[in-house]
Every structure is written in structure tokens, then in C-alpha cells.
Subunit: 160 residues, 2 copies
């Protein structure tokens, strides 16, 4: 069952330190068909609907070259999530497990990652398949999928 | 050549908005053999050295269940990186390309992601192979690798 920020039997919260060690800038916004957490898929599918990733200025120039890649890694901010539940009950039962052994949105730093298939780019908008987040989710990064990417930089000692 | 925060010919910077849209808490620290950027591998290798990921309190309880997974996804904060170079010159030549089409540490939100092989867990310390970051890099998240993870939560409408 989707968590609407309630706490379930057996779950363990902590008094989390204030999240001030580093700051993020939202570089865009993700547009998906899902506006209700209950309707949102838990994991993206390669044959899922085409979704639009909108990149804000001044970051649009950083998209140059992105169409070379079939798959992209997308990082987004799970803006509706609690951050303090260290032991969670995925089935809403008495069985709990640690947040780091789950891909739950509820985590100390609620960052989601997904590998998506690039469909096309139109200006500041990237159309992809494979997302699984709510409409309006803030974007924090885009990278080529690591499997497809070979470093362009020249060799350096640490590479061996 | 490794960038030591210099700017190269043809590169384009922007006046980046202040990174205040969301805040991160460092949940641990990564210990690797590499203290000099020139010695650091550009991409982790499955047969790389065993590195230690130290998790800070109050987050250690969130590790419960993590030994079930052979591969983990690690998110870390590339604390030495500039964030303002939207077009970059990987080869230090006149050829530039967008930051989002590179896996460079220099990006608006300098978050690195890596898939690592779990070797063992000892209390608050996780020993893994496959990292490629500098010693002392702040940790921001740990998740089961998406390829190995099947959601535990019951079915919901959006999954279809």
C-alpha cells in the first residue's frame, strides 16, 4: 500500500539531523501521467508511457550531445517523502527492514534514480520512456547511462 | 587530464542560481585508496580494490537487510566539484559538449552514482568493490541495485 506519510506498526524513526550539509538546485521538472501516488508505478518500464523532462535555464546548454545516448540516468527529488524512517514496513505488516535495503522514496536523502530510454529532444524538453515518478517531480541531474558511456578524457594513472 | 577546478578553452559557465531548493544530510563517508584526483579511476571496476563505506548514526539501523543484495547503488557528493560549467572540454581541446552528456563530476548538482559489489558488512561499515571516488567523499544514499530489486510492497493500480 502506498505510504501517505503515515507511520506503520513496528517502524522506527530517528531524530534526523538538519539537512544542511549540501544544497541542491532544481534544474527542471518531470511531467508524467501520474498525479496520485496510488496510480504511480513502483518501477519504470521500458514500454511505459512517454514522459517529458523539462530542463530550466540556465542549464539547457548542458544538454548538448545528449542525443548520442539511447539510455539516460535521471536523478530526481522525491519531494513528498518523509526522511526519518530508518526501519520500514513495506507490506504494512509487523515485518520491518532498513531503508537502505529498499528502493522506497522514504530515505534520509530522498533522491530517486532511474534509467530511461531517450525518445527525442525538443529544445529544453527531453521525451523518455521508463519513468515511475509523480507529475511535477523536481529534476536534479541527467547523465548518460554508465553502461553506454566510455570516458572521453585521456587516460590517467588511476584508470589501471 | 583531471580538472583541478580550472576553466578550459571554449568552456561555457553560467551564473548558477543558489542551491537552496533542497538540502542534503551527509549520512556517511567513503574510504578509498585514492587521495589525489590524478590517481583516481574514472570508472569503478568490479575487480577494483575493496573500499569501506562508513555509515554515520542515526542511520545505521537503516542497513538492516542489506546483505541480501549482491550489488548496491551508491550515491555520493562530489564535494570538490565546480557546478557552473554547462559546456565542458573533456580532452582539454577546443571541442566542448554539455555536462548532461558526460559523467563528469562537474555538474549543477554534483552527485555521483555507482553500482558496487557488496563484499561484507561489519556494523556501520560496508565493504564493497567497484568505487571510483576520492577518499573522504561524503555518502548520501545506498539502495539495492534496481536490477536485483523486486518491490516488496503489495500490488497497486499504477504497476500495470
Amino acid at each position: 500500500m502506498v505510504r501517505l506519510n503515515d507511520l506503520r506498526a513496528g517502524e522506527v524513526t530517528v531524530e534526523a539531523p538538519p539537512p544542511v550539509d549540501a544544497g541542491l538546485v532544481f534544474i527542471g521538472r518531470v511531467h508524467t501521467p501520474w498525479t496520485d501516488p496510488v496510480e504511480c508505478p513502483r518501477q519504470g518500464r521500458k514500454d511505459g508511457p512517454i514522459c517529458r523532462i523539462e530542463v530550466f535555464e540556465p542549464w539547457v546548454a548542458a544538454l548538448d550531445g545528449i542525443t548520442e545516448f539511447e539510455y539516460l540516468e535521471v536523478l530526481y527529488w522525491l519531494h513528498l517523502s518523509r526522511r526519518d524512517i530508518v526501519k520500514q514496513s513495506p507490506r504494512n505488516s509487523s515485518v520491518v527492514r532498513g531503508a537502505f535495503s529498499l528502493r522506497t522514496p522514504v530515505r534520509p536523502n530522498p533522491i530517486g534514480t532511474q534509467i530511461v530510454k531517450l525518445v527525442r529532444v525538443e529544445g529544453a524538453n527531453i521525451f523518455v520512456r521508463g519513468l515511475d515518478c509523480l507529475d511535477g517531480t523536481p529534476l536534479i541531474d541527467l547523465k548518460p547511462d554508465r553502461c553506454a558511456f566510455t570516458p572521453i578524457v585521456p587516460h590517467q594513472p588511476g584508470d589501471n
